[in-house]
């Protein structure tokens, strides 16, 4: 098939031109270090001429613009430089953002940990222990293990270790909060198990009222249920009514006088 020269309006031509420009630009980007000009210069250089020709077709018969090869080349180089600059700027911006974030996290973490003084004391305390009693290697190991475990080992295996009190007056005792939460949650799970197995779905339970009223139903003269009245019904309403009555009585007394 013979490909006719596309008779185009401005818009598609410009889109085509942009697309075409983009492609050589990316090619050039990829082969940044290589020679740029030796390459599809024909493509780069040829484009604008085509464009002009197409533009010419539409408008009156003007002489085609004379674009030298050098100017076109310079333009292309400008374009690619601009693109490179923008990419570099973006990269640096991202880097800075990431740096700032890291610093913020480090600060927050520092705030969470104990102040340095106490940590120093802890480490010195463990060291003095080592010096004082070489026989108590187990204790020291356990303490060290405790410190290591702050990084998050399996807490099941590690026993609840109470870190030794470090200050002279022994006014506090440091206990791992993680273990306490674990213990509470296990106790709750155990209680939930018992509750489910005794009172959960599948068990055949009934209310105390119904249970005690069974006998009443089988008497020769049937009687009402044991808790026939629901005294908890409408408590607020009854209270309001009582208050209103009191106020009404007082008002009545006043008007009578």
């Amino acid at each position: 098939m013979v490909q006719l020269r596309p008779r185009a309006s401005r818009a598609p031509a410009s889109a085509e031109a942009m697309v075409d420009e983009g492609q050589p630009a990316s090619e050039e980007e990829e082969a940044e270090h290589g020679l740029l000009l030796g390459q599809p210069s024909s493509g780069a250089a040829a484009e604008p001429l085509e464009e002009d020709e197409e533009g010419d077709d539409e408008f009156d018969d003007e002489a085609p613009e004379e674009l030298t090869f050098a100017s076109a080349q310079a333009e292309a180089r400008e374009e690619e430089r601009r693109v490179r600059e923008t990419v570099r700027r973006d990269k640096t911006l991202l880097k800075e953002k990431r740096k700032r974030r890291e610093e913020l996290f480090i600060e927050q973490k520092k705030r969470k940990l104990l102040p340095d003084t106490i940590l120093e004391k802890l480490t010195t305390a463990s060291q003095t222990n080592i010096k004082k009693s070489p026989g108590k290697a187990k204790e020291v190991n356990l303490q060290k293990k405790n410190e290591d475990c702050e990084k998050g080992n399996d807490s099941k295996k590690v026993k609840v270790q109470k870190v030794q009190s470090v200050s002279q007056n022994k006014s506090y005792l440091a206990v791992r909060l993680k273990d306490q939460d674990l213990r509470d949650s296990r106790q709750q799970a155990a209680q939930a198990f018992i509750h489910n197995s005794l009172y959960g779905p599948g068990t055949n339970r009934t209310t105390v009222n119904k249970f005690l009223s069974l006998a009443n139903k089988r008497l020769p003269v049937k009687r009402a249920a044991v808790q026939f009245l629901n005294n908890a019904w409408g408590i607020q309403k009854k209270q309001n009514a009582k208050r209103f009555k009191r106020r009404w009585m007082v008002r009545k007394m006043k008007t009578k006088k």
């Binding site: 213990r183 197995s197 599948g202 249970f211």
Partner: protein
């Protein structure tokens, strides 16, 4: 006797907590009972089933297992993962040791009493060695897949049966490995989606393992081969507990429907040697789940969610068929939870975690004997005082003038000052109470509200002087050297001169408060004291014991009174001695020195010392003699014990002034109405 207006109080919303575990100690014939709020009570079964000691509960303690080890040591384990040992002399907890296996579901002491086995949530069975002062972890057995809910030792101590969810494992103690794993059917002759929870196991000496589970089955397994021998379906709901007698010829199981079944080993025919287990007797004494049973040599003991402790002596084991062989149901507390301020007509109710202060209502109407008078002013709920912290309140008291309230928990002692302006009251706490006052077993104010007497669990008796808004520690009476006697009951004379304190075994000590020294000691009696009071002018100390004996001791003369000697010589009426519940409160009439007012849960009695004593042939429960009877008849039938059963069940009864009584009742239906839901029973026609 006189005419009295009686305030019938039913607004004390007392609900005891359900019984979770029971452990029977054969050597001392004592029963340890633990409740769902963590309280552990010790009942002395030979002292007329009286509760002689108790350890207050704690919110985080959910006891799941209780057992006695050798040397009268009591251990308990619960869902907080700790094993606790109780000190029975000092009435506190010796120590709590974490077992590191998560919540503990079951515990069993070895037959020799020197080792303790614990079954945990993570499926591990841990062995502890019992040392003279502590317990020490020995080793772990093979870890199983699901939680170990029940444990039992073989009588020789070589094997262990552990019941879990859907299976039972048999372990060898020496190696710690599981020898057999027996799978339990989820339903008797069928399939079911609900897992089968093995609530109890028992290991017999011939190698049979008895298991009870949530499908309602009792199954017999052979542990040598690991196979099922026999299966009984006895209930539609869970069977939750099992206890075997020492001779292994009978055992008892408790179901969730409230029924307790007795199984016995009977010969197949009358002269054959072959025996088989047969379900012999059902007992329906409970309405709710029976979560624990125990088997003493002569009785079956059961307790459950309906808060009753039921002791059923077995007729074939009881030697003498007298009233001792009757059913005993312990429902109401054996100590007084209510204190009364007579001047301001206030009642202080003690609950587990709070106190309530009520003012009694008043009436202006009058009527005849037996009338109900309408209230002109209703009873007023003045104060609801919550305790800080998770511990239960041990004891509390309000001063007779109504301006001081004191209560004690295990770790602290609280003293509050109340101010009354018109109808409002304001409360102010006295801070910085000394530490030695904590864990008080009994608190009492003197009649003029200037002194506070505190009996601590260390055995010491403290006297604190109160004035204005502050206090000052006056004196502490130390216990006799060598014994740490926990003082349980206190009584003070109205003139403030004498203070009586009863320990658990040494007899009642009487102290002189003015001179701050020991005055005399009432001779020890082998049954514990249940109530004590000192009469106003005569200063006679009246003591009631758990075997329903009442003594009167004259403090100034340091000897028993003549009336008391006469009563002891003649003996009490047999119906008086056969009463179930102990006397919990004694009081006196200010104008009539010959009257003593006492009450227990089902009756109240006014003893008139001027009238003759009844002998066994006379009618003890005399109704009011009608006025148209002749004087002669009345004089012949009148005797000293005027008993009335109009108000029952009574928690407290006291004389407010000369013409008014207050009776605090707690109908059983009101307690049952607040219990958890029971198992549904289908009856034909409903």
């Amino acid at each position: 006797m006189g005419e009295f207006k009686v305030h019938r109080v039913r607004f004390f919303n007392y609900v005891p907590s359900g019984i979770r575990c029971v452990a029977y100690n054969n050597q001392s014939n004592r029963l340890a009972v633990s409740r769902t709020d963590g309280t552990v009570e010790i009942y002395n079964l030979s002292a007329n089933y009286f509760q002689e000691k108790f350890f207050p509960g704690h919110e985080s303690r959910a006891t799941e297992a209780l057992c006695w080890a050798e040397g009268q040591r009591l251990f308990s384990a619960g869902l907080n993962g700790e094993i606790m040992e109780y000190d029975l002399q000092a009435l506190n907890i010796k120590y709590a040791m974490d077992a590191f296996g998560g919540p503990i579901w079951s515990m069993a002491a070895s037959p020799s009493g020197s080792q303790l086995l614990v079954g945990c949530e993570d499926g591990s069975v841990k062995l502890f060695q019992i040392t003279p002062d502590k317990i020490q972890f020995e080793r772990n057995f093979d870890r199983q897949k699901s939680r170990i809910l029940s444990l039992s030792w073989h009588p020789s101590g070589t094997h262990i049966a552990a019941g879990s969810i859907d299976y039972i494992s048999v372990f060898d103690v020496k190696s710690g490995s599981a020898v057999h794993k027996m799978i339990v059917d989820r339903q008797y002759m069928g399939a079911s989606k609900r897992k089968c929870i093995v609530w109890g196991v028992a290991f017999l000496s011939d190698g049979t393992v008895i298991s009870v589970d949530s499908a309602g089955k009792v199954q017999f397994w052979d542990s040598a081969t690991g196979t099922l021998v026999k299966s009984h379906l006895i209930a539609n709901a869970d069977v939750q507990s099992i206890a075997v007698a020492d001779q292994e010829d009978s055992f008892v199981v408790g179901t969730a429907e409230g029924t307790v079944f007795h199984f016995q080993l009977v010969p197949v025919t009358s002269n054959s040697n072959e025996k088989q287990w047969v379900r012999t007797k059902p007992f329906q004494h409970h309405t709710h789940d029976v979560r624990t049973v125990a088997h003493s040599p002569t009785a079956l003991i059961s307790g459950g969610t309906d808060t009753h402790l039921v002791i059923r002596p077995l007729m074939e084991k009881v030697e003498v068929k007298n009233y001792d062989a009757a059913l005993r149901k312990i429902t109401f507390p054996h100590r007084c939870l209510i204190s009364c301020s007579k001047k301001r007509q206030l009642l202080l109710f003690q609950f587990a975690h709070h106190l309530e202060l009520w003012r009694l209502g008043s009436t202006v109407a009058t009527g005849k004997n037996g009338d109900t008078l309408p209230l002109s002013k209703n009873a007023d709920h003045l104060l609801h005082l919550k305790t800080k912290g998770p511990e239960n309140i041990i004891c509390s008291c309000i001063s007779p003038c109504g301006s001081w309230i004191a209560y004690s928990t295990v770790s602290r002692f609280f003293l509050y000052r109340l101010n009354y302006e018109h109808d409002n009251i304001s409360l102010k706490r006295v801070s910085k109470m000394p530490a030695f006052l904590r864990c008080a077993l009994q608190i009492l104010f003197s009649e003029d509200s200037t002194k506070l007497f505190v009996a601590s669990n260390q055995g010491a008796l403290h006297i604190v002087q109160l004035s204005g808004g502050s206090f000052k520690h006056l004196h502490a009476f130390q216990p006799q050297s060598g014994t740490v006697e926990a003082m349980c009951l206190l009584a003070v004379s109205p003139d403030g001169h004498w203070l009586a304190a009863s320990g658990t075994s040494a007899g009642v000590h009487v102290y002189d408060v003015k001179q701050l020294k020991l005055h005399c000691t009432v001779p020890a009696y082998n049954f514990p004291v249940t109530a004590m009071a000192i009469a106003p002018n005569t200063n006679n100390l009246v003591i009631a014991h758990s075997d329903q004996q009442v003594f009167e001791y004259s403090i100034p003369d340091k000897q028993y009174t003549d009336w008391s000697r006469t009563v002891q010589k003649q003996g009490f009426h047999h119906l008086w001695l056969q009463r179930d519940t102990p006397i919990t409160h004694i009081s006196f009439h200010p104008k009539r020195p010959m009257h003593i007012l006492l009450h227990d849960a089902y009756m109240f009695c006014i003893i008139d010392k001027s009238l003759p004593l009844p002998n066994d042939k006379t009618l003890l429960y005399n109704p009011f003699p009608p006025t148209n009877e002749s004087d002669v008849v009345r004089r012949r039938t009148a005797h000293a014990f005027k008993i009335s059963k109009i108000y029952k069940p009574l928690l407290f009864m006291d004389l407010l002034d000369e013409r008014t009584l207050v009776a605090v009742e707690r109908p059983l239906d009101d307690i049952i109405a607040q219990l958890p839901p029971p198992i549904k029973k289908k009856k034909f026609g409903t």
